[in-house]
Structure formats: C-alpha cells, structure tokens
C-alpha cells in the first residue's frame, strides 16, 4: 500500500556539497526558478522541505480527527454532506502532500511512522477539542483562514512539487473557509443559545489560532534560511498581522467579540493584539495540549487495527502475481 520505490538510497552524489553547486543553486532560486526533484539541491534544503511538507501532510491527516468528531452529529443533511466532503478533502491534501514529500527521497511509510512515534510534529491547533457544533464553524472560519494566509505564499515556493500541491490545496481551503464562515453566520443569526455557542467557540479558538503562525520573528529558528531559499516569503508576525486585520471586520459583521480586550488599532490601521501566551504554545508542542494523547492514540489505533487489512492486500497481490507468472510459464 505504501510506495517503497523511494526507500533506497540511489547512491548518487547528492550528499556532496561543493561551493560552486551551492552558489549555482542559490542563483537559480534568486532568479525565481523552480527546483524540481531531479535537480541538485543542498542536503539542508532537502531536509528542511522534507520536514516542512511532511509536517504539513501529518497536520492534514490529524486534522481529520477534530472535525470528524462532528460528522455523525452534524445538524442537517446538507451540513453533514459538506463536513464529510471537507474532511475527505483534508485526507486528499494529506495524500498529495506525502506524494510531494516522497519526491525528496523519503517514503510515505517512513514519514507516517515518524508521526505515529511522536517524533514528527503536526500543527498544534489540532490538539484542541471540538466541543460544540460552533467549533466546526470556527475551525472553518479561523483555522482554515489562518492556513490560507500561511499557504498562499507557498504556492510560489521554490520547490516545484510543493508549490503545485499548494495551488490545489488553497483552492479547496478557501471553499472550506467560506463554508465555516457561513456556519458562523447561521449561528449568529439563530437563537440566543446558538449565538452564545458561537461566541464561546471564538473565545476558545482565538488564541490558539494566532499561535498557528508560529513564534514571534525574534525567536523563530527556521526563518532565515527558509527565506533565503524562498520557501518562506513572509515572516510569522507579518502573516499573523495580516490575518488579524482581515478577521476583525468579519467578527464585527458576525456581532462576536474577539477575546482580547486590550487589542487596539494603530496609526497604520493594523490591529495590535495583546501578548500571546507562548508558554501554552510550548506546552502543547511538547505534548501537553488537551488532545495530544487522544489524537496520536486515534491515529495509532487506525494504523494498528488496519495492519491486517494492509497485510491481506499485500498477500493477495503476491498470490496473484505468482499465479500470473505460473500461468505464463505454462
């Protein structure tokens, strides 16, 4: 079931770095050329992208769980179909992101094992629980909204397969975002209980969503080289600011209050948020979020309980192959 072809090292000189090649590589990046899988690239570029793309893929797959939590309880058939289709889209994103990561030489099997063992990270936002239906609206509106802010610049990322995957992902994400906002509009125009449900969801998700853009620029470890390689085109703080400025009028339209009483508009019109609790971020990243254990347990359970199915498929494929060979020999 998993692609094995890329497991083996192909014995080329990819590991050998020389100054001339590195500067040629940088010149191509500076000229806005796309790097493709068979092109020479520095080992650190390969490593950075493998980490980033696979984390992104893991996030899509783990991200199926908090929303999947509401598929069987969606409040109308239209919402149920939309949510099931959305979670299915996320699985599809995961699949083509793994495929993009595989072009860098690590198999999906290895990448998934890294996630299941807890070594590889996924987006911390999915370590928060979905408690009410309003969480489904809020995730679409804010989590997908933040993801789009992060991902649109990635459509111009220097690595071709990643950039192309992102173009498709972004189209579907913006559809999800509109769906989420529409759930919020319906709740906010509904009964007092529904409106309170919407406000409560915003209260719980707002700060974790701001953390999705990553640590403040002064402390971000990966930014410098990623910027030089045109993997990253905007800083964490720039994207966070763009997101907040876009979201404030949407919250006003909904009649909801952003849970940051100290937030003020500066002279440039930007909304300046109060300090973010980076300690919470570090705790969730370290495995101590409300759902870290549940999410990993659910993925491991699916993987372990599916093992006999994958084994059966492989055993059957082997049998079929040897039968065909035997037939051909007759």
């Amino acid at each position: 079931m998993y692609t094995q072809a890329l497991n083996s090292s192909d014995g080329d000189d990819r590991g050998v770095e020389d100054v001339a090649r590195t500067s040629q590589f940088q010149a191509r990046i500076d000229a806005d050329e796309r790097i493709e899988p068979n092109d020479w690239m520095p080992a650190a570029y390969r490593k950075t992208l493998t980490r980033q793309i696979s984390q992104h893929a893991h996030s899509e797959i783990v991200g199926m769980l908090p929303e999947g939590n509401w598929i069987t309880r969606a409040p109308s058939l239209r919402r149920k179909a939309a949510l099931l289709a959305k979670v299915q889209d996320e699985c599809g994103h995961g699949l083509y992101l793994y495929a993009a990561a595989e072009t860098l030489g690590t198999s999906r099997e290895e990448l998934v094992d890294g996630m299941l063992s807890g070594k590889a990270k996924y987006s911390s936002i999915f370590n928060y629980p979905t408690l009410t239906w309003a969480d489904i609206g809020t995730i679409g509106w804010l989590v997908d909204g933040a993801a789009i802010m992060n991902q649109i610049p990635l459509c111009r990322c220097s690595y071709g397969p990643y950039a192309r995957a992102m173009i498709r992902v972004c189209k579907e994400e913006s559809f999800h975002q509109r769906q989420g906002f529409e759930i919020m509009v319906t709740l906010c125009r509904g009964t007092a209980e529904q409106k309170a449900m919407a406000q409560n969801a915003l209260d719980r998700w707002w700060w974790p969503v701001l953390m999705m853009f990553g640590p403040p620029d002064q402390v971000s470890q990966h930014s410098d080289t990623s910027t030089k390689w045109k993997i990253k085109r905007f800083s964490n703080d720039e994207l966070r600011q763009k997101f907040i400025d876009a979201t404030v009028p949407q919250a006003e339209f909904l009649g909801l209050t952003i849970p940051d009483p100290g937030m003020k508009q500066n002279e440039n019109g930007n909304w300046v948020h109060s300090p973010i609790d980076w300690d919470e971020f570090k705790q969730v990243l370290a495995g101590n979020g409300p759902c870290n254990r549940d999410r990993l347990a659910a993925r491991r359970k699916a993987h372990d309980e599916g093992a006999w199915v994958r084994e059966a498929a492989m055993a059957y494929a082997e049998k079929r192959k040897s039968r065909q060979l035997a037939q051909a020999a007759e």
């Binding site: 199926m64 919402r79 759930i183 319906t186 529904q194």
Partner: protein
C-alpha cells in the same frame, strides 16, 4: 414542542421513497463513522466517497417523499425528527461497522443489490424515480466494484483476513433476504410500473454474490432463515444508538436553524 416526532402520512408512494431514503442515509452514516479511522488513507477517501453518494441519494429521496406527501415535512425533518419505530430501512444497513471486513461485506451485499435495483428503476414510469435511479446506478456500480475487490483480497489474502471475512458473511447473511421482500402497498406500485419487483433481481444478485464469494475462497452459509422487520420499524438494537447520535443537536435545540 418542536422536538416531538413528526407525523408522516405513509401512503404507498411516500413509504416507498422513505424506505429507500432511510437505507441510503443509515448506510451513508455508518460509512461516515470510518472517516479518519480507516485502515489506509486511500480507504478513508473511498469510504467517504461512498458515504457521500449515499447521503446524496437519501437527500433526493427524502425531498421527493416530502413533495409527494405535501404536509410541509422536509429532508431534515424526516432524518432528524423520526424515532426508531418510524425508520423504514433494511436491518442490514444499520448493522454496526465492526471490523473492515464486516463493513465491506455489508457494503457488498447491499451494493450488489442496489446496482441491479437502480438500473431496473431507470425504467420507472415515475420520472423522479427514474432520474434518481440514473444517478444512483452509476454510483452503486462503483460501490460494487470497490467492495467486491476487497472481498476477494480479504478472502484470498491472509488466514486472518479470510477468517474475518467469513465471519462477516456468516453474521450478515440473514439480513439479505429483506432486500427482496414486497408488501401489498409496494405490490400496487409495481403493478403501476412505478416500482420494480425486487424478487426478479434475486437470481442475478445471487450470481454476482456467489461469483465473488467463490473467487474469494469464501462460502455462503447454508441457512436460509432470513431476519425481517426494518421495513415496518422493527429494528435491531443498534439503530437507536445511531439515531441518538445523528439527531442529538436537533433534539437538544428544538426548532433551531443550522
């Protein structure tokens, strides 16, 4: 109170549409329970796909039932505001997912029937049914292909997968007879050319099923005792739990719009 169950005027045509809608909704719901938990990501995609097809069929059939009934009920009222005794689906489709083999055997038994059924219904004298059938037939053709490929892989895969697939067949077999049953109301619709006689599909269904089961090195049970009751609201214990989950928001917040 708005949480009370709706009343349905079950004329033969309304009941006929509701029964097929309930089949599609309940089986689609069961498949959606897998989402995020399937044995492989490709299966997450495929199960969601089939679930979405079935949900789509359910919505069209409920909407048609509502139109024929003409009492102001709609698709969501049928789905969310009827209790166990008012649901009219086959017992087969409400059976729990169990392991992947059980889900696939359930899917295969149903899809092998639905594919023949919808193909025959394309000739219905009722244009709405004929149109729903044309779309549903294409979908069920894929469902049969997908599930039968899995039955063969599981049956002829490993010892464990063979055992699990055989157990699933043994446990679910008694729920297949209900697909071919007809009551007096349906008999009238069949005579009018609106519905088709499912009994006429049985030999072809059995041929498909036997062919795949044999290829999978599995066996059909010898017993021909068949369970019945779903069509008149006498369900297994499983449906109530499914409905309490499916209907929880509509029941908790009476009359709200979502």
């Amino acid at each position: 109170m708005a949480t009370a169950n709706i009343e349905v005027s079950e004329t033969p045509l309304v009941l006929y549409a509701l029964r097929r809608a309930d089949d599609a909704l309940i089986l689609g719901h069961r498949l959606s329970e897998w989402c995020g938990h399937a044995p492989a990501m490709e299966e997450d995609m495929a199960l969601a796909n089939m679930g979405l097809d079935l949900l789509g069929q359910a919505r069209e059939l409920y909407t048609y039932a509502a139109k024929v009934e003409g009492r102001g009920n709609d698709e969501d009222m049928f789905a969310y505001l009827r209790d166990v005794r008012q649901y009219r689906n086959l017992l087969l489709v409400e059976q729990p997912n169990g392991d992947f083999a059980r889900t696939m055997v359930r899917q295969f038994f149903y899809a092998a029937f639905a594919d023949l059924y919808w193909r025959a219904m394309m000739g219905s004298s009722d244009p709405t049914f004929a149109a729903i059938a044309a779309k549903s037939e294409k979908e069920s053709a894929y469902h049969v292909r997908h599930s039968s490929e899995w039955i063969v892989r599981l049956g002829d895969g490993t010892e464990e997968s063979h055992r699990r697939a055989q157990n699933a067949i043994d446990d679910l077999w008694a729920y297949t007879g209900e697909m071919f049953a007809v009551d007096d109301g349906e008999r009238g619709l069949i005579d009018a050319g609106i519905a088709i006689d499912p009994a006429a599909l049985k030999s072809r269904w059995l041929k498909t099923v036997t062919g795949i089961v044999n290829e999978a090195t599995l066996a059909l049970p010898k017993s021909d005792w068949m369970q019945r009751g779903g069509r008149v609201g006498s369900h297994s214990e499983h449906l109530g739990h499914l409905l309490s989950e499916l209907q929880s928001l509509q029941r908790t917040f009476p009359g709200a719009t979502w």
